[in-house]
């Protein structure tokens, strides 16, 4: 039964999602929810099923089993009004070579015009959008002449032209230089803060995930093995903090799972001789690698224990 979605309903709600290509099981039971306004990042090793998950949520691929609700609807059955509320940033490569960014955005954006409402006018004004993604200078040049980074920015612009309530980005910054990456992060923050856009993205760049996401999901072996903010994930992985100190002329490094107790002992033992002290929390990269590793070794030796990991 379709029902009007209330603001409290999750924007994305997935239960027991499974996907198999022939006998190859890519997703073995994914559960995930994304609330309105959240920025959620899907991390995972290659082949973990990130792209498959995103494509199912976009309605571009039918799942083998499980329930999927996106903006209150089943993406495979949702109509064009639903489509108008969802933005997808695609990785295209040579399409519309003869068009200019301005012409293309004007043409594609116009499809959203019938879905404009007073609260949410659609589409964005093309000049403003070109400026926002930093393409004003190239707005009237042929797309075939754009650099890789400029093309990706155009892809982002096409994805958000309809002023989506929910935006999907599959590895949006692959091939960006540092400046383009910084600009893109600013844009994501702006969309999230000013427009309240709910954003689900995949990436391989852990620093990016940490910077952008309110919440990080780690997908490994076809299911979500971790769910939380970067800090929360860091805390879940024990023995990751590193304490460095100097005692006289000597310097020491020691990993510990209980920083407070360890440091207290340090003070008790050395007291005034301590000349330098530094505590380093596990980076997201450490956390991520530890979690994927833990999952993969666990999965390999004791597949029954998968439930415990979650």
């Amino acid at each position: 039964m379709p029902r009007p979605d209330s603001p409290d309903d999750p924007v994305v709600d997935v239960r027991g999602l499974r996907m198999a290509y022939g006998t190859n099981e890519v997703l073995t039971g994914v559960d995930l929810t994304v609330s309105a306004g959240e920025v959620v990042c899907l991390l995972g090793p290659n082949g973990a099923g990130k792209t498959t998950t995103i494509e199912i949520l976009e309605g571009f691929r039918a799942p083998s089993a499980g329930t999927v609700r996106v903006l209150g609807k089943d993406p495979m059955r949702a109509g064009d009004a639903w489509r108008a509320r969802v933005g997808v940033v695609l990785q295209s490569w040579r399409d519309h070579a003869r068009w200019t960014p301005r012409r293309l955005l004007t043409q594609l954006g116009d499809y959203y015009a019938p879905y404009s409402t007073p609260e949410r006018p659609r589409p964005y004004e093309v000049g403003w959008l070109l400026d926002t993604v930093g393409l004003t200078e190239h707005a009237d040049r042929k797309i075939v002449g754009l650099s890789g980074g400029q093309r990706r920015r155009l892809d982002v612009a096409v994805g958000i032209i309809g002023r989506p309530e929910l935006l999907f980005l599959d590895e949006p910054t692959a091939g960006f230089d540092p400046q383009a990456r910084r600009d893109f992060h600013d844009l994501v923050h702006r969309l999230s803060d000013l427009e309240g856009t709910t954003i689900l993205l995949t990436t391989h760049d852990l620093a990016e995930a940490e910077k952008l996401a309110d919440r990080i999901l780690i997908l490994a072996g076809g299911r979500i093995v971790a769910d939380g903010s970067a800090d929360e994930l860091g805390r879940q992985v024990a023995g990751r903090s590193e304490v460095r100190w100097a005692c006289g002329a000597e310097r020491f490094v020691h990993p510990t799972d209980d920083v407070v107790a360890f440091v207290r002992r340090l003070f008790e033992q050395h007291g005034g001789e301590l000349t330098d002290l530094e505590v380093r929390r596990a980076s997201l990269e450490d956390t991520y690698l530890a979690m994927v590793q833990r999952f993969e070794s666990g999965a390999r030796t004791r597949p029954v224990l998968e439930e415990v990991v979650r």
């Binding site: 792209t51 064009d80 489509r83 108008a84 295209s92 499809y111 994805g159």
Partner: protein, 284 residues
């Protein structure tokens, strides 16, 4: 605002934009020029060849058939290539991600490929009319016939191109799956030599497909009445021409949306990515 009608309007505008971009592109201008120069030269070198002792010379006799071949070829191979390519490069997927985007996309394709017939026909027709005498025997009525045969022929063959572009596994396969059958079909359709010169079963086969009828319709418009003796049954068979082309058009209108929908359903980011990787492999 009705979104479907709105999308169709956008598709028309898309087709028009693509058409303008095409006629402004040196690559496409080169293609039109190449076809036109080749055809006109062929006619020019055969300008004194009389067909039998009918008093009709080769340019007069061949031109309508060549134009017919161009219609069939252009609107089958053109859309087939475009569709196969745009499936791979993500153009189609972009439209799939839009509300009513596929309707707009298909409208755009139909518009663009229909418009593209104009330069391809005109670049041959205009110089031919200037160079050769007695091309058009039918007068104003003849031109009217040309118009309806082209339009009906377009409706009959364009869906074939769309279906072909939807079912071929990749752009590189359009050549084998599309070009070859169409070339064979054109060869047996009385475009380059009269149908009667072929075996009976080939004649029958040719008359099932629209290419023959487009050529016949155009010959009936251009050629003098005396030339009817060169045709099957000594008749222009105008009624049957309308009937066969209309049947193909109706079949196309019924089948094509289904095939397109099925093809569009299978489009996703990973299919585009896979195509991109395959094409890189191919280039290497």
């Amino acid at each position: 605002m009705n979104p479907t009608r709105h999308a169709i309007g956008l598709g028309l505008r898309r087709g028009w934009t693509e058409f303008l971009q095409s006629v402004r592109s040196p690559q496409d201008q080169g293609f039109y020029l190449f076809t036109a120069v080749g055809t006109v030269l062929l006619l020019w070198f055969n300008r004194d060849n009389e067909i039998g002792d009918s008093g009709i010379f080769y340019p007069t006799y061949a031109l309508p058939s060549i134009l017919g071949a161009l219609v069939a070829f252009g609107v089958v191979i053109g859309p087939a290539f475009a569709l196969a390519m745009e499936r791979e490069d993500g153009t189609l997927l972009r439209h799939k991600a839009l509300p009513h985007g596929m309707q707009g996309y298909v409208t755009g394709q139909l518009t663009y490929h229909s418009l593209s017939l104009l330069p391809s026909l005109l670049t041959i027709l205009v110089p031919s009319l200037l160079l050769f005498d007695g091309l058009m025997s039918g007068g104003a009525a003849g031109w009217l016939t040309v118009a309806w045969v082209v339009v009906l022929g377009l409706l009959a063959t364009l869906p074939l191109g769309m279906v072909l572009g939807s079912v071929v596994p990749g752009t590189q396969k359009v050549g084998t799956w599309g070009m070859l059958p169409i070339l064979v079909l054109t060869a047996i359709s009385g475009i380059f030599f009269p149908l009667q010169a072929l075996w009976g079963w080939v004649q029958g086969l040719a008359q099932v497909f629209p290419v023959y009828w487009i050529g016949l319709g155009l010959r009936s418009a251009f050629l003098p009445d005396a030339a009817v003796t060169l045709e099957v049954g000594d008749s222009w068979r105008t009624g049957l021409t309308v009937l066969v082309l209309a049947a193909w058009a109706v079949a196309g209108a019924l089948v094509t949306p289904r095939v397109l929908r099925r093809m569009a359903r299978r489009q996703s980011g990973s299919t585009v990515e896979a195509a991109r990787e395959a094409s890189l492999q191919w280039v290497r």
